[in-house]
Amino acid sequence: MSVTVRETINFTIDGKPATAPEGTIILEVAQKYGFEVTNLCYNKKLKPFAACRTCMVEVRHNGKKELVYSCTHPVAEGMEVIIHTEETDRYNSANIEMLLVEHPLDCPICDKSGVCPLQDNTELLELQKPRFEIQRRNEPSIKTNPLIEFYLNRCIVCGLCVRACDEIQGVQALDFHQRGMKASIGTANDEPLDCEFCGQCITVCPTGALMDMSSDARGLAALFKNTNTTCSYCSWGCTVQLETKKNKLVRITADETPGVGINEGNLCAKGRFGHGIVHNDERIQSPLINQGGTFQEIGWDEAIEMIAERAKTTINRNGAESLAGLASEKLTNEENYLFQKLFRNNYGSNQINNLQNLQAPYVNDFMLNCFENGIESKPVTELDQADVVLIFNSDLPSEYPVGGNSIRKGAIFTGTRVIFANPRNMRFDHESRIDIRLIYNQDADFMLANRLCRILIDENLVDTAKVQEQIPNFNDLVASLAPYTADATKKATGLTNEQLKRTATQLAEKADRALIIGNDVLNTGKGKETLNALLNLAILLNAGGEGSVSIYPPREHCNSQGVNDMGATPQYLPGYRPVNDAFEHENLADELFENCANGKIKFLHIAGEDPMTSYKSRSIVEQALDTVPFLVVQDIYMSETARKANLILPTATFAEKEGTVTNMTRHVQKVVPAIPVQGKAKSDLEIFHNLADALGSPFKSKSSSDVLEEIRQTIPAYKDVDPARHEQWKPSGVTAKPAFQICAFEELKASKRDFSMKLLTNNHMFHIGSYTHFSKALTDIGPDCFAEINPKDAKKSELVNGDTLLVESSQANLKVQMKINPAVPAGMVYIPKNWPEVPVNALRNGEDGTVHVKISKSE
């Protein structure tokens, strides 16, 4: 909740008393109190606009009667609002009747039929008999981009799409063109739409003028079966509405109903258009066994039996600890819980891990340290109420697009101040009055964060006496910050002390602050130091400032948080209980791939992950998978990892399974099946149950809800969380241990002479993980991998747009198309990591931190 408090206004609607905060518009309150007001161009997420002129109401105030548009007129003390008088109905009707002159009444083939405000309002005002002569427009449909069809004959020029594109998405790809009778929405000079393809315009369009072309289905949205579930891509955890017809997923839409999901009906390209992964011929069709390099279909019973037998013999021969499992950041909590239970209880092995914990094991500790310092962080549903948001090394439009939507909304309605810190000068447009951009040198994240801490203390921006009182090792922190002088920071980050002072001042003011951290921080080689510095910053603000601080660990996939909550790590049992003496064995899972490669692990079970492409270093994974004597991979698609398996099991997509996932801000949310499991695939949950049965020690649970019940019993924080209500789990039973996390200062490593450029790799705007490439819609808008370099580097190496770039590291080299992007700083090569044909992780030579490369033109 914002720290600014608005006065409460008392008034009446149709004689009934009502209250609302000062400045609230009549329409919003009327809807809240259950009154139906005609309107076509109002959306709670957008600024008042008053384009359609159909929401007129009568108000009486100070003895004066007025006819006002309820979507722009704020309530006032003592005001009487009267909805639907004979007079207002006459005005409102006339405007809708005029729209119906042109609007094609092709409702049976319209996507919005049944959920169309124009239909609803026509019915509300009883306008079945048109007074005016019909004059239809007959313009052809515009299909110049792969995903969004413009059928402007249906357009009522309400401007919702234009405003959503601008205010919610910050992209401004659409605007009004021409004027008068010719006025229409569209792109500049009718050029093909080239945007972030979030599809927000389709959601807000009231009439079906904008349509989702990724789906063949047309017409009568109301006839499709809707299932609300949680998106399976990034860790923001948006609620998506799966529309199905005859057990087939036809499209994904957003549900804007208040209280549904944490995303207020906002989605991104991946969430909305990435449904092509569900009905797809390339899915693995049956369990497969590797017979000398070729895969043969086998039956499920045989496959499960084989795994159980192999597990038993391996335990007998080499001990339980030689069995290891890689849980998944994409499976549900229930599935991951059962997977670790299978290893710990059934096999007796603690060798279980997940990719995030393998690559950045300090992230969970960071979260626990936050709790111990009393920083619980607010639910992300309150992000739009924050007063200051620090976006730390996250390219929001690609990484957490919908997070960007909430921040933009905050900038408009709450006056959220935005601080954007990133090595790349990425686009993040919003309407905030305060917008501090800190474009700093790659890998200098920890310098920046530590310098901010030091400024807070040096300039007395926080109450240091209060901090000292609350946090025992305050003096150690002060001592550790000594190297972060203005000069050293300027040298390392390229930022002036004035910029940082301004930032620190904004953060220190009495405010509700949110710190959003990007996953890139984890790849700088100083992820732990950076997270700790940000934690110290949060502690300083929390203990020595007024207001609140919310900070969340960076997470990549839909259940990167949950997989750790469920204890799929060698360090923690479910609920972050430390692993006790029951497993007094060597911890092999911390170096999972190394221990496969050196022969200590004899049996590896990978559930729904593709480490060959997802793990930071490809060579060690390749060695591991080639060496380990028995490899089971269960996945939806034939990944590069699966190709190396002895046995492959086909699994279900998110649209076919039940369970819960936990997003990066710890909201536990439901995954609800919309269609039955396709073909011969099985859900991962069923596979684990079958395996336990085959091992002769079946689980007590039978279904996903049984497992959730067991999780609730095991993990106190999950006990009272209702996934149906998108609630955030709160830490329980944490002993307060306030302490700054002190890290020793270490200067940034200079680039090596031969490899003078630094590589940055992360998820592309239209791709994440290894599944999106099977979605036609997403490959249509993001077909090719492009490396991006600064114009200066391009000039130096005589490269132009479209050239093929040869990128060499001490380990490997690869070829990739390139384009010049001034947002990328000189000295950096940016390559998205999502194209199997451009294996960026092959460039790493086993060292941590940023990979150093050199570039040249490929002949």
Binding site: V171, Q172, A173, L174, D175, F176, H177, Q178, R179, G186, T187, A188, N189, E191
Partner: protein, 163 residues
Amino acid sequence: MADTDQVVEEEIDLAPTQKILDALPEKSRRYLIPALQKIQGVYRYLPEPAMELVMMDIGISKAQLYGVISFFPKFLIEEPGKYIINLCYGTACFVKGAEIIVNKIHECYKIKPGQTDASKLFTLQTASCLGNCGAAPMAIIGEDTHGTIDPEKSLELLASYKL
């Protein structure tokens, strides 16, 4: 085809655009329209490279910029002919034969309102009313105002304008 018919892409000097943008009191949308007017004053239309500079400098998207441009018929995005014919299409001029003039121009120069002829001599535009109904039908050609045009003799009038 003769060499003269080939379209020669001329390099556009962007210095005047930059000068206009630099002189703005504030780089914001509120100064967009005056800036566009000044730029059109230099080039006679709004060339695309200049518009890219405007987008970057003022910080608006292409859709937004061309949304503003297309709202005002006065703003041209293509290079107009040497003379812009502003033909009055108001009630009085229409009754007195403005339509006949349009048809004659179309026959001779193959252009309709909004278009420019191949030799880039004329761009035809129509106006809702030029405010001189007493002299209907009337037109402004380049800088010259012509009243009481005889529709039948309109082509002779145009013939006096040369490239």
